[in-house]
């Protein structure tokens, strides 16, 4: 006898905002009637922080993982112990999304050292003989649009051998001039990062030009804080020796889940940066870094 337990949210994209009502149905499907000891639903929002082994000792990273921060939690009993008839039974439910105490519901974010996740779990308790059933489903929370006008703050850049820092041998560096601009460094998370880049000249042919999206996560704790920058994605915008003097578009869509509006709290920080990486055919790697401020409007 197999019993199917499923949670279906009303919204196809599973995106909710604080103050809204999370609604959906629990679906129980079975050929025969199901005896159970009660069905309950648990909604939970957690921030998981983890210290990287780089900034702390390995053991500490293991054991000293910072305690998760609970943002929201709620539990309801959907059905009292009894019997669910055979066939497909749909039980509707609703949860109001209100943060605990004076906390805010941060936006869903999947990172390396910081994870903000919202889950909905349905448990069906059953008699000793049958196994309990459980089904988990994640839902997304988008934070409220930020108030106030957003300054796009465009930025022009020009890269030459002279503008570079952190070079080992400045002498062996070939000549080049790359100009460009980003339309905004304060970006709306739903809008792509745009701009243009022109290779004015380059002594050595170009092999590739890439946009590297980087997350910078900072976890604060009693002993201090850890700050780590890791790559989210790398998007190639030019391949091979591109035409000189012709503007190449810079275009990158911010991936969902892996990005969120720039966040700064007492315990942790999530920031983003973009690197324009130019690889020359002789494997010289030129990187120009731009901090970004993401927000949702």
């Amino acid at each position: 006898m197999s019993v199917g337990l499923d949670i279906r949210l009303k919204r196809a994209n599973k995106v909710y905002h604080e103050g809204e009502v999370l609604a959906g149905v629990v679906v129980i499907s079975s050929k025969e009637a199901v005896q159970h000891q009660g069905i309950s639903l648990t909604m939970e929002g957690l921030v998981n922080l983890q210290l990287s082994s780089k900034s702390v000792g390995v053991f500490e990273a293991f054991y000293n993982s910072v305690k998760p921060i609970q943002l929201i939690t709620s539990n309801i009993e959907v059905v009292k112990p009894g019997k669910v008839p055979g066939g497909k039974t749909e039980i509707p439910f609703e949860f109001p999304l209100h943060a605990k105490g004076n906390k805010v519901l941060y936006e869903t974010y999947h990172g390396v050292f910081v994870n903000i996740q919202y889950t909905l779990r349905c448990d069906m308790k059953r008699s000793l003989l049958a196994k309990d059933l459980s089904k988990t489903c994640e839902f997304m929370v988008h934070c409220q649009p930020q108030k106030g006008r957003l300054q796009p703050s465009p930025v022009d850049f020009s890269i030459t051998p002279e503008t570079l820092q952190n070079i080992r041998e400045r002498v062996s560096l070939p000549k080049f001039l790359i100009r460009g601009h980003l339309d905004a460094t304060s970006c709306v998370i739903t809008q792509p990062l745009t701009g243009e880049l022109v290779v004015e000249n380059s002594e050595v042919p170009i092999k590739s030009i890439e946009l590297q999206l980087v997350r910078v996560e900072t976890c604060g704790c009693a002993e201090g804080y850890a700050r780590d920058a890791t790559e989210i994605q790398n998007i190639q915008i030019a391949e091979g020796d591109v035409c000189h003097g012709l503007p190449i578009p810079i275009y990158m869509i911010f991936p969902r889940l892996f990005t969120c509006p720039t966040l700064e709290t007492t315990n942790f920080k999530i920031e983003f940066e973009v690197n324009v990486v130019i690889v020359l055919q002789d494997d010289h790697l030129i990187t120009e870094n731009f901090p970004l401020k993401l927000c949702r409007v």
Binding site: P205, I237, D241, V242, P255
Partner: protein, 965 residues
């Protein structure tokens, strides 16, 4: 049954004929004419009546006699209904001006049938860009499969992920296939296409996406550059498949609950479908490499209709700009071609981004001559001209898309911008290829100037002239420029050194030459081609092109006297030295001749040339030639022979036939045709002489007979021989050549025993009996008018024929012999009349020879009696056989009865008794057709009303319909 005494009924043919005629009924003025058919106003067939305006009102007048055939075609037939449907669309537009305006605008935005689709180019590219070099496929599968499993996934999921990874390892996450031949490569790609479909159908969407990404990654690899265009074709096929799969999937998600209209908007799409679609786009946006990201997004571009109506308007320009990031000019140009293709398919109204693609291409045009490209070419040992031709398909396509229904100003602007670039031969070529032929033709002189200015080292000039010629073949340049265009072009073409390049180009220009100039210019062109193609037997490699030259000339020159008066035409034909090709060419010449030659000809130039052509076809026949091939060749040669006429010069015509017989001796149908021609010639002579041959014409018609007589034996088909003997005999008789006619008939008679019992008809073995019976009946009716030979006995030929019939080995259990006997009876009866039913002018038949001599009549009657005796014996023999025999007996008895009734003199008691007996016999076993019997009886009663026929009524009383069994 003792011997029967035969007496033929005396016939008065004329009065019988008069009696048989229908009564003439005087026509009342008001009566409808019987031939003027009943007019039925069929409203159903008047579909689309509005189109035909006036005709619909005339339906009641009946002045138009509706021919059944034409009324079939009147709207009700399905083909014309289609035509009407498409035609009626056009007028509806003119109803309201506003609506029509809008519709026309929409029409302009759509892609019409005049847009040559990509599928037409595919095969051409695959065939043209090939390589013998080794290729490699580098697939990098499953490495980034499954990101770190989400922290709270269940154990089972983790295990499954792990197992999947292991599977991947086994497959070899990175596969590099080296040293593939071109065919292997194509097979691999096809395999990947299959894998993609399988992965999709087994719900492994991620795997499908991976396959597509890996495939499109192959497009960034330009090693073995000659193969790149073909590779592009193969891989974009996969992309198309993928795009279709994704679209259909999302479409099906939409139509889950209710069917979505074909022209849906984003509002009709449900959230789940939208979310899925959005997911695809997000997934693709995160593809690391530029080229796969570009291609895969373009592949599923159509899906953006699910998200918003205007999304494409932003996406297309973005993708267009993205291509700027591709450094390799060849890769970039093909990416543009793909984007244009998708653009034309998905949003043909967005002309801006097509245009942008083209101008971007111009902006980055100098990349083609950049150092990195040069280095690559040196490395791969590819010449610049070869390299440049690799661009053509893509640039042609882009230009075709941009220039499709584009205003003249845009075309001019595009051309101006092309002109400004250095080394623009490649672009020029594509412009000529892709722009409207009329546009190019109008500026042909300009183009020639530009072509001349091009750098010789770059794009091959003969290709440029080839493209120009192709445009000029479809559209006409201004009249006064034509000659100078031809001169200028040919000046360059004639300098092309490689024969293959030369002929490719010359072949195209032949069309232009034929179209606008006379035989003199065409002759010059032909001479030039001969001059170029003869050295080193270069023509051997250029048969298709040379054939196409002939085809084009034949298209424009239908007058064969002009055609063959071109000095160089026959020498040109001599270049076709491979048998099969030569025969093909001859065949196409003959086809055109038969189709377009209206009147018979005697022009010696045409005759000689065509005789030569036909001889070539004839000589290609050998023991291995297929029957069908022979038949079609014969048909063509026959067509030629029929078209030859020397007018009143009959002797020359005959000598032509003699010559033709010698030339075409291997094709039997041709010989048959020749015999017919000669027979016709004899009859024509007779007509000219009005039946009175002079000594000279008499000798001539005898020569004709002699021709036939010696030609017929060389045929193998026995029935052809028999029929031709008979026919030629008839012709000889008509021309008063009695001894010749005798010889023909004798030959026919003596040939009879050789007739095989079965012959092959259309490849199947059939009994020859039916044919033989037909022939004999035909023969018998001819024999009525053939006078007896003075030195032979009475009815020499008839007896001879009947003897042959007797001795012939008929099929077992067949009563064919008896049926011949029965059919001989009417002949004999006709022979014993005073005046024969028909006669040949100026030939005395037996009626005059014997003048009703009783001895002759007695001979005839004796013969009849013998025949009847034979028939009766046979009937008796059949009676012994219970089953089928009795049935046959009935039929035969009835037909003999009919014969007696029609031809025998039934006043004779014995004969009438025999007739009654036969009637009874035929009804004895109840196998006869009662309706037939009733009708016969009625006929007898009717006949008995006639004078001298009273005896019949008495007989009718003795005939009963009841079987006596």
């Amino acid at each position: 049954m003792a011997a029967v005494q035969w007496h033929s009924r005396v016939r008065a043919y004329e009065s019988e004929l008069r009696a048989a005629r229908l009564e003439a009924v005087p026509l009342e003025p008001g009566d409808p004419h019987p031939l003027k058919s009943i007019t039925v106003t069929d409203s159903k067939s008047r579909r689309g009546g509005g189109r035909r305006g006036s005709t619909s009102s005339s339906s009641s007048s009946g002045s138009v006699a509706p021919d059944p055939l034409s009324s079939m075609l009147d709207g009700t037939d399905p083909l014309s209904m289609f035509a009407a449907a498409s035609a009626s669309e056009a007028p509806t537009l003119s109803h309201s001006t506003a609506e029509s305006g809008r519709k026309r605008r929409e029409k302009e935005e759509e892609v019409g049938p005049d847009f040559e689709p990509w599928s037409a180019k595919r095969g051409e590219i695959l065939a043209r860009f090939t390589t013998t070099e080794k290729l490699s496929i580098n697939l990098f599968m499953g490495s980034d499969k499954g990101k770190a499993p989400s922290p709270n996934s269940t154990v089972s999921e983790k295990v499954r992920n792990r197992l999947e990874e292991l599977d991947d390892m086994e497959e070899g996450s990175q596969r590099e296939l080296l040293n593939l031949s071109q065919q292997d490569y194509v097979n691999r790609i096809e395999e990947l296409n299959q894998n993609l479909k399988e992965a999709w159908s087994s719900d492994q969407k991620v795997k499908a996406l991976k396959i597509v990404i890996q495939c499109s990654k192959l497009l960034s690899d330009t090693s073995v550059i000659q193969f790149y265009p073909s590779k592009f074709v193969l891989i974009t096929d996969i992309l198309d498949t993928f795009g279709r799969l994704v679209y259909e999937r999302i479409w099906s998600m939409c139509s889950d609950s209710r069917a979505m209209p074909e022209s849906f908007t984003a509002d009709d799409v449900n959230d789940t479908a939208k979310e899925t679609c959005l997911n695809w786009f997000f997934k693709i946006a995160s593809i690391r490499e530029l080229i796969p990201r570009l291609y895969v997004e373009a592949a599923i571009l159509k899906c953006s209709f699910f998200l918003s109506k205007t999304g494409i308007q932003e996406t297309l320009p973005r993708l267009t700009a993205m291509i700027r990031g591709i450094g390799d000019p060849l890769v970039a140009v093909y990416a543009r071609a793909y984007l244009c293709r998708v653009g034309m398919e998905v949003a043909p109204h967005l002309k801006e981004s097509l245009k942008k693609n083209f101008f971007d291409l111009l902006a980055s045009f100098r990349q083609i001559h950049s150092d990195s490209v040069q280095n690559q070419l040196v490395l791969q040992r590819v010449e610049i001209p070869v390299y440049l031709t690799l661009y053509s398909p893509a640039i042609n396509w882009i230009l075709q898309c941009v220039s499709y229904r584009a205003p003249e100003t845009l075309l001019t602007e595009m051309m101006e911008r092309c002109k400004k670039l250095a080394n623009n031969a490649l672009l020029l070529n594509s412009v000529m290829w892709a722009f409207r032929a009329e546009f190019v033709a109008a500026r042909a002189t300009d183009f020639i100037g530009m072509i001349k200015d091009c750098d010789e080292a770059g794009f091959p000039k003969h290709l440029l002239f080839g493209s120009l010629g192709r445009s000029l073949a479809c559209a006409d340049p201004p009249e006064n420029e034509r000659l100078s265009i031809l001169n200028e072009a040919w000046k360059v073409i004639t300098k092309v050194r490689s024969p293959q390049d030369y002929i490719n180009c010359a072949e195209i220009w032949v069309e232009f030459t034929c179209r606008h100039f006379t035989k003199r210019e065409v002759n010059t062109v032909l001479a030039d081609i001969i001059k170029h193609m003869t050295p080193d037997r270069a023509f051997e490699d250029a048969y298709p092109q040379l054939q196409s030259v002939i085809r084009k000339i034949l298209n424009y020159f239908h007058d064969f006297s002009v055609l063959f008066s071109m000095e160089r035409f026959l020498p040109f034909l001599d270049m076709f030295q491979k048998d099969s090709v030569r025969v093909d060419v001859c065949r196409s010449i003959m086809e055109v001749f038969i189709k377009h030659q209206q009147e018979p000809t005697r022009d010696p130039v045409i005759l000689n040339a065509l005789l030569h052509v036909c001889k070539t076809m004839h000589d290609s026949v050998n023991a291995l030639t297929l029957e069908d091939e022979k038949r079609s060749l014969s048909l063509l040669i026959n067509g030629f022979i029929r078209m030859v006429s020397f007018g009143r010069d009959f002797e020359q015509q005959l000598s032509f036939c003699v010559e033709a017989r010698a030339t075409f001796c291997n094709l039997e149908p041709v010989l048959v045709q020749l015999i017919h021609t000669v027979n016709q010639l004899a009859m024509e002579t007779r007509r000219v002489m009005r039946g009175n041959h002079s000594r000279k014409t008499a000798a001539f018609v005898r020569a004709c007979a002699a021709y036939s007589f010696i030609t017929i034996p060389s045929l193998t088909s026995i029935f052809s021989r028999l029929n031709l003997y008979l026919l030629s005999g008839q012709v000889a008789l008509a021309n008063q050549c009695l001894s010749q006619a005798d010889a023909f008939f004798k030959a026919a008679v003596s040939l009879l025993p050789e007739v095989p019992r079965s012959i092959t008809v259309e490849g199947k073995l059939r009994s020859s009996e039916a044919f033989l019976l037909d022939f004999i009946s035909n023969f018998l009716s001819t024999l009525l008018v053939v006078p007896d030979h003075p030195e032979q006995g009475v009815l020499y030929l008839v007896r001879g024929l009947l003897n042959m019939v007797q001795d012939y080995t008929w099929e077992e259990n067949s009563d064919a012999k008896v049926r011949v006997y029965i059919s001989a009876l009417p002949l004999l009866a006709a022979m014993s009349q005073d005046t024969y039913l028909y006669a040949i002018p100026k030939v005395d038949s037996n009626e005059t020879l014997y003048g009703g001599d009783p001895k002759f009549l007695a001979e005839v009657n004796k013969l009849c009696e013998t025949l009847i005796g034979q028939v009766l014996d046979h009937l008796k023999a059949l009676g012994r056989d219970e089953g089928a025999g009795v049935r046959k007996q009935g039929t035969l008895a009835f037909s003999l009865f009919g014969c007696l009734l029609a031809h025998g003199d039934l006043r004779n008691n014995k004969l009438s008794q025999l007739a009654v007996n036969l009637w009874n016999l035929s009804h004895k076993h109840g196998y006869c057709d009662t309706r037939n019997s009733v009708r016969t009886l009625e006929y007898i009663k009717h006949q008995s009303q006639q004078p001298d026929m009273a005896h019949l009524s008495e007989m009718a009383l003795r005939l009963s319909l009841q079987s006596r069994a």
